[in-house]
């Protein structure tokens, strides 16, 4: 997921094999199957690239990378191929967690540990370990930030630009946002959905800005489409509101740091999950533990935090931001 | 005798599975009308397509003006001075008349169309063809077949060519229009152009031709015959290799005195035809005579339900048909052999036998599953009765010659046992030999008790074939009576009389 950005040696923001202890040492070579949705937006692209780069960084990992797809039928067959191939572990970021549950269970039954990334399966038996971001929590973080800024003003106009609306994760984010806002007596007055792409973000935002002539707070679910959203805001010459991003791309972090746009904060949705999935898969396949924990097994579930990033703490997160 | 303007020797053209041309020689001189004769499928159209650069010959050579010529594409032939009127109307329906005429050599300046200029030039051409009523700006698709044929002619003339090839230009024209066509051909001949003329109507060849070449099965069987003097019997023998009767088969038994099977009463469609009433008894053949554009096709199509009647009724065997419903007509035993074989009749990419059986599928199926062999053999038999060549029921219809395609459409309705048969131009483009067989066939069907309605632009044919004739002019029946009591001259007189009486109705009747 990295970059030609500022200086040369932070080249491995998401990838590190300089971990602690024995885990960094090469063990038996393991084959890991990786399948994810189509990289039709930056965050997903970052996830996949990070996973690939992470695997390359390990000399004892051989990665089999299936074609990214938004067709669950095809993704199921990819996992079946992994099972047929008897890979040592499968890292699976499902297009739709529930729909992939059955095949993941079959993989587990075949003795192949499945590491479930980002979109959770429907059954605890389908994965050895689950590592996921907190979609609901993202919404909550963004909502809390708005509440904080509004500081008791219950008349504030809050707008929301969601991602692909038919995905359950989008629903979770919106729900979290709505719930957090409700706590301080606010609600979303205008909501549109884009498609996680720059162009769709621009399109949706352009219309939204016309629908709401005055906005106080705008939460945009995804920083890739956010590039387009910012372009639309600039095109419309609007600056009366505070915008909050989502996911935490490097572009956005830099812009928060520079503090020269309406974008004042973003909520992190780690793009390191794919890479972490690979790491965990390797540990599990090689029978190792997470060396920072006393526990001898890799945990069942790791949920990543969805912290809010503002000008004040941006340097803390800059390194883990994904370049998109 | 002038030197040959164009000389083709040993032309061979093969299609997958057929040797369409098998060594054809043709010599055309300037200032003559050279007729090309041959049965359906003899290779006439293929030959002229080779000449026009639309096909590349496999063997043989073309010499034009004393020099070897090779036409890699139609443009090369056009550039060399050969313009062609193709048998199938090759116009673009969506374009205006003027655009079609100048397609490929548009009147333009820096790529911009000079609309008024080309409209003016188109109008001049159309006027010189005797058709000032066709507006150059009219959409070509809305013209009748005859109108399109005129546009094709105008297009060929617009090329200022040395050689003009005409493939059955008269097939869709009525006698009046053919007269106009011949005047144009005379002018061209007088100005030293060469014309290659194809027709199945021998009397036309007598009138206009200078010399003729006869093709049979892809070979030249006779060349350089004088067009006027060669006896008809000899020509027919050369073409077909057998004797053919030139007589119309007359009724042999008296017409049974039955109730009419088909009764049309007060039928009308706004702006097309009005107040058409007639009845046909079983065993009777009724002919609709008239000039092109008179509305005869519209009448039979409306009877069939393919167009929705605005007024009047159609009754078959005492039952009135639902308006505008082909289903009802077919269920009542009607069959229509439509006027335009390509657009209305044939599924071009299907095999011959499947086209023939199309209207009779239920007969060849059990529980919805087709009985292929029964279907094929029945269809094959039907195709033999009309003499489809080559005799191969599995051939894709698209690869048949024009006349043979026409026979396939006809065969469809022979196979389907219907009670009332409506035939619109059944012999268009059909050769002399097959034509007389089709006449016999129609007569046989009538004798078996069918009621038949025949539309044809060939007045002699209508009169010869039918028991009773209706003369249609301008959407009205102007005469009705036994066909024995009227001759071609009288028919034309009545049409003219009606035109004079309704002088104001000028419109564009093309």
């Amino acid at each position: 997921a990295c970059t030609n950005s500022s200086d040369g040696d932070d080249d491995t923001a998401n990838v590190s094999n300089t971990g602690s202890g024995d885990n960094a040492e090469a063990g038996d070579t393991v084959t890991i199957g990786f399948s994810a949705p189509a990289a039709d937006h930056g965050w997903m692209g970052a996830i996949s690239s990070a996973a690939v780069e992470q695997a390359e960084a390990f000399e004892d990992v051989e990665l089999v990378n299936a074609e990214g797809t938004n067709d669950v039928n095809l993704q199921i067959s990819q996992v079946e191929t992994f099972i047929n191939d008897k890979v040592d572990a499968i890292v699976l970021l499902p297009f739709d967690g529930a729909a992939m549950t059955d095949v993941a269970t079959r993989a587990m039954e075949a003795g192949i540990p499945v590491i479930n990334v980002d979109r959770e399966f429907d059954s605890p038996f389908a994965a050895r370990t689950t590592i996921l971001g907190d979609n609901y929590g993202m919404g909550v973080s963004a909502g809390r930030y708005v509440c904080e800024q509004a500081d008791g003003n219950t008349d504030a106009v809050v707008a929301e630009i969601a991602g692909i609306d038919s995905l359950p994760l989008t629903q979770d984010r919106s729900q979290g946002f709505a719930d957090a806002l409700e706590d301080c007596g606010l609600k979303v007055s205008n909501r549109v959905a884009a498609e996680f792409t720059v162009e769709s973000g621009e399109r949706a935002a352009a219309n939204l800005l016309q629908a709401a002539p005055k906005i106080d707070y705008l939460w945009n679910h995804d920083d890739d489409q956010g590039v387009g959203v910012l372009a639309a805001i600039e095109n419309a010459g609007r600056d009366e509101f505070v915008m909050i991003g989502g996911a935490g791309s490097a572009n956005v972090m830099r812009s928060i740091e520079a503090d020269d746009t309406v974008l004042k904060a973003t909520v992190i949705y780690p793009s390191t999950q794919g890479a972490d999935g690979i790491k965990l898969a390797r540990l599990i396949a090689q029978g190792k533990s997470m060396s920072d924990l006393a526990e001898v097994e890799v945990p069942r579930k790791i949920q990543l935090a969805a912290p809010i990033v503002t000008k004040d703490n941006v340097d803390q997160y800059m390194d883990s931001a994904f370049e998109s | 005798m002038p030197a040959p303007l164009l000389q083709l020797t040993g032309i061979v053209k093969e299609f997958p599975g057929v040797r369409a041309l098998d060594g054809v020689d043709l010599v055309v001189r300037a200032g003559e009308v050279h007729c090309l004769l041959g049965q359906n499928g003899a290779g006439k159209s293929t030959l002229i397509k080779v000449l026009a650069g639309a096909y590349q010959p496999d063997e043989g050579e073309i010499v034009m003006d004393g020099e070897h010529a090779h036409f890699a594409d139609p443009q090369a032939a056009l550039a060399a001075g050969i313009a062609t009127i193709y048998q199938e109307l090759d116009l673009v329906d969506g374009l205006s008349v003027a655009d079609n005429i100048f397609l490929g050599h548009e009147r333009s300046r820096f790529g911009f169309s000079r609309v008024s200029d080309s409209n003016r030039a188109a109008r001049e051409l159309l006027v010189s063809l005797g058709h000032p009523e066709i507006r150059p700006s009219r959409e070509t698709g809305s013209l009748s077949a005859a109108g399109k044929q005129i546009v094709s002619m105008a297009r060929a003339l617009s090329r200022q060519a040395q050689v003009i090839v005409m493939d059955e230009p008269s097939a869709v024209l009525d006698p009046d229009e053919v007269g106009g066509l011949f005047r144009v051909i005379e002018d061209l001949r007088a100005s030293g152009k060469a014309i290659v003329y194809i027709s199945h109507r021998l009397e036309e060849i007598r009138r206009i031709g200078d010399r003729l070449t006869v093709l049979k099965d892809g070979r030249t069987v006779a060349a350089d015959l004088p067009a006027r003097e060669t006896p008809t019997s000899e020509l027919i023998a050369l073409m077909t290799g057998r004797e053919v009767s030139a007589e119309y088969p007359r009724r042999t038994t008296p017409l049974p005195d039955a109730e009419p099977l088909l009764v049309v009463d007060g039928l009308g469609r706004t702006d097309e035809f009005e107040d058409v009433s007639f009845s046909v008894r079983p065993g009777e053949i009724v002919g609709l005579a008239g000039l092109v554009g008179a509305g005869r096709s519209e009448i039979v199509e409306t009877v069939y339900g393919a167009r929705r009647a605005d007024r009047g009724t159609v009754t078959v065997d005492g039952r009135t048909l639902r308006r505008g419903s082909v289903d009802a007509a077919v269920a009542a035993g009607l069959g229509l052999c439509p006027e335009e074989r390509k657009s209305q009749g044939l599924v071009l990419d299907e095999a011959v036998y499947r086209n023939i059986s199309l209207a009779s599928l239920p007969r060849f199926s059990r529980f919805g599953a087709t009985r292929d062999s029964a279907e094929r053999s029945a269809a094959h038999e039907a195709s033999r009765t009309v003499d489809v060549r080559p005799d191969d029921p599995d051939r894709v219809v698209r690869t048949l010659s024009g006349g043979n395609q026409q026979k396939v459409v006809l065969a469809r309705w022979l196979l389907r046992s219907c009670r009332v048969l409506l035939l619109d131009e059944p012999t268009r483009g059909v050769d002399v030999g097959a034509r007389s067989e089709i006449y016999t066939l129609i007569r046989t069907l009538a004798d078996e008790g069918l009621a038949v309605v025949v539309v044809s632009s060939d007045i002699d044919e209508v009169l010869g074939l039918s028991d009773r004739v209706l003369v249609v002019a301008d959407g009205r029946v102007v005469h009705s009576g036994p066909s024995a009591e009227i001759d071609a001259h009288n028919v034309l007189d009545r049409i003219l009389a009606s035109n004079e009486s309704s002088h104001e109705s000028e419109g564009d009747a093309a």
Binding site: V72, S77, I83, N84, D96, A99, P168 | Q344
Partner: protein, 337 residues
């Protein structure tokens, strides 16, 4: 194993009537067979046993099954001169409708067949609406089915409330998840649909009329065929196959979701067209479609086995499609002359 036999059997039978009609012979599918064989060769060379294993073949066939059933239905619509962009959306709607709590509750008391009939019923209903809009409303198929695409997916989202619906009915899971002789039920379903589809298109009056309606609707009408009604039947048939595909997908994923069948319209049409069915109508081949589907799924499988990057896969896919079609043409031409 069932592929070779399915392909082999029907291949030869289809060849027969086709050959009789001029240049439409075996040659027509020869190039596709060669392309598929080359693809398998590449798979064998690059992935060896992993490619040729029974399991892998079953994986490819399972993947081909649901989309394959839709493609067979699409073959009829395209042969009949139409097109349908709404198939993916119909699959989604059918899967959602058949997996609502209401349907599942009913299935519990009546039996899993309720789920199946609901899915197929919804598919047929959507197909009939498409057909009516096209045949009687005279809306061009592209637009009518585009409208259906938007509406059906929207409706699926509303019904599912954008959540993935899990199928808990054990009867359904058992019946459709079974694997007689080690082969999943859905592969048998696909095989049956191919055989029935082939028979319907080539050996029945329905098929004959489909060719006529697609080849020249005016001629078909004047020959007494009820063109409009037939058009409705065609879209209803495709709708039914979409419903069936939804069932198959539900069996594979144990879910109903408004995101099922995303982009299937393009995949299905591509398989049909690469198989040799003319987009302009009047010419269609079930076996060609089967080969088209198998080529696309095998391609993906070989890519996965070889661990190509997604972007490189996309580029390669485009190039391979072009090469396969060119190959197909050259072979067809050569053997017809």
């Amino acid at each position: 194993m069932s592929t070779p036999s399915v392909t082999g059997d029907t291949q030869t039978t289809e060849a027969a009537p086709a050959k009789r009609a001029g240049s439409m012979g075996v040659a027509r599918n020869l190039g596709l067979v060669v392309a598929l064989v080359i693809l398998c060769g590449v798979g064998l060379i690059t992935a060896g046993d992993r490619f040729a294993s029974t399991n892998n073949i079953i994986t490819v066939l399972s993947l081909a099954s649901a989309i394959g059933v839709v493609a067979i239905g699409m073959t009829f619509v395209i042969t009949g001169g139409g097109i349908d962009l709404s198939v993916g959306a119909i699959v989604a709607l059918a899967s959602v409708w058949a997996s609502t709590t209401g349907t599942q509750a009913m299935a519990e008391s009546v039996g899993w067949i309720v789920i199946v009939t609901t899915a197929i019923g919804v598919g047929i209903a959507c197909g009939v609406i498409n057909g009516l809009l096209i045949a009687y409303g005279k809306i061009v198929p592209f637009i009518a089915t585009l409208a259906m695409l938007a509406s059906a997916r929207g409706l699926a989202e509303i019904i599912a409330d954008r959540k993935t619906q899990i199928i808990r009915d054990q009867g359904f899971r058992d019946a459709l998840g079974a694997r007689p002789f080690g082969v999943p039920v859905i592969v048998y379903i696909f095989a049956i649909v191919v055989i029935v589809g082939w028979f319907l298109l080539n050996r029945t009056t329905f098929g004959r009329r489909t060719f006529a309606v697609g080849g020249n609707p005016e001629a078909a009408r004047l020959a007494g065929i009820k063109v409009q009604r037939h058009t409705v039947y065609l879209y209803a048939l495709l709708g039914a196959t979409c419903g069936l595909a939804a069932v198959m997908l539900m069996s594979r994923t144990q879910t109903g979701s408004s995101t099922h069948g995303l982009m299937w319209e393009l995949d299905a049409i591509a398989a049909v067209v690469i198989g040799g069915t003319l987009l302009s109508g009047g010419r269609g081949t079930v076996i060609g479609t089967l080969l088209g589907v198998l080529i696309f799924t095998t391609l993906t499988n070989v890519f996965t086995l070889n661990n190509l990057s997604t972007s490189v896969q996309a580029v390669a896919k485009g190039v391979i499609i072009v090469v396969a079609v060119l190959l197909q043409q050259r072979l067809a031409n050569r053997s017809s002359t």
